[in-house]
Symmetry: C2
Subunit: 229 residues, 2 copies
DNA sequence: CACAAAGCTGCACCCAGTGCCATATCGATG
DNA sequence: CATCGATATGGCACTGGGTGCAGCTTTGTG
């Protein structure tokens, strides 16, 4: 099986986090880690391409899982909804190990190098969203633009909720927070993507403004909404 | 003056790019660069904290400029519009040196380390947007969430347009492309932020619908629009 | 038991980045 | 003009992440 092998890998992660937490990330050398884990230095780099990778041991797996999840989508489903579903998948990875996630959050928050690394990881998730959306929105006006913007918005919503949960030391309800944040994005782009292959082009524009709104405001709103096509 | 001093800095950038373009980034050592520039190795790190920084020589300045620009905003202006204005500022930095920007784009496209670095740079722009928007949307429902999501959307729109311009080798019209992309974002979040302090609550409802539009579509649109508040 | 494949280790090496100190350059001042 | 001090530069040695290689051990298999 795939879960019984990596005893050494887990030992390295454990040793690394123990040292990171008691001395700090930059004050810990790879030699320190392998000494504590009782393995050779070379073996560390067999399991982790770089020192930073040991902080995000499961992201690679999660990323491939998520990509596969998107690839296996029903071609008729709502693309935005599907991406939101993928986000919930990612969130689950964090909530499965709350204490670990919180510890990692504290580390990444104060070590610039780790923050940069995390950024590149998050970016890969966002790219996965965008690639999927590009495929679904292909042919539509501004398809790739929409795909990129929506992917970024979804990722930002996820991060916002996740970070607030992490700041609460894993006490709040992460699922609910993410649900709320995704709701906001879905409201903003509400099926602004592909209205499913079966729905023909439509021309419904709804503007809700408030009594007493300055006229220029209403006009602007109409213009900008129309421009969406 | 501030523009007459950094002869050495410019020489280092020139030497670095010459070597990067003819040998590749990773095949070029810092020693190679300083040898070509005819300066001491230590001086390189005096001007650039890391080898990667030499690829983005002006981002630090641009970032502080942009932050100052946002900080100097009229408190009554439309926040989203202001952020879009800031984006145009960033774009200008790219379009001022098209050939340089295109060369850099080719480098970052194929060197993972540089891509990661660029990511962290872009992230700082996005954070500047988000911080500004957080200040402007403070107190509103989901203020920070909106700020983060809108900032991400704006940055994504900018990047989408910028990258398409860079792929065209700087031939297309970058301004127009970014304008179009920003238009999409403004349509999606059309002043969903603060309706300016002077605008009191309004209650105007305008519905533009094409004859024969499916009713569920209208309802969905109404829901999503109402939720924007 | 023999043998091969895979995993682990140590070693030597490259290169980015840093701290420290010596030197040079230049402007102000007596 | 000489001197002094601030600032810019250069050289040097050192740390530490990351890699290629070659040898050793373990494990599974006939």
């Amino acid at each position: 099986m795939s879960s019984t092998k990596p005893a050494m890998r887990d030992a390295l992660v454990a040793a690394a986090f123990q040292l990171f937490l008691e001395r700090g990330y930059e004050q810990t050398t790879v030699d320190d880690i392998v000494a504590l884990a009782g393995v050779g230095r070379r073996s560390f780099f067999r399991y982790f391409p770089s020192k930073e990778d040991v902080v995000f041991p499961d992201h690679e797996r999660c990323l491939t899982d998520m990509t596969a999840f998107l690839a296996a989508s029903d071609p008729g489903c709502d693309p935005l909804e599907r991406v939101c579903e993928a986000v919930r998948l990612v969130l689950r990875m964090y909530t499965e190990n709350p204490t670990f996630s919180v510890q990692r959050y504290r580390l990444t928050k104060q070590v610039p190098g780790l923050r940069a690394y995390e950024l590149s990881v998050v970016w890969r998730y966002e790219r996965a969203f965008a690639e999927y959306l590009r495929g679904r929105l292909k042919g539509l006006h501004d398809g790739t633009l929409r795909a990129d913007v929506i992917a970024a918005a979804v990722a930002a919503a996820h991060n916002n909720a996740l970070r607030s949960w992490l700041r609460s030391d894993g006490h709040g309800d992460a699922e609910q927070a993410v649900e709320h944040a995704l709701g906001y994005v879905q409201a903003a782009f509400g099926s602004a993507g592909a209205p499913a292959a079966d729905a023909p082009p439509e021309d419904v524009v709804v503007i809700v403004s408030r009594r007493g709104a300055p006229l220029w405001r209403v006009v602007q709103e109409i213009e900008s909404t129309l421009e969406r096509d």
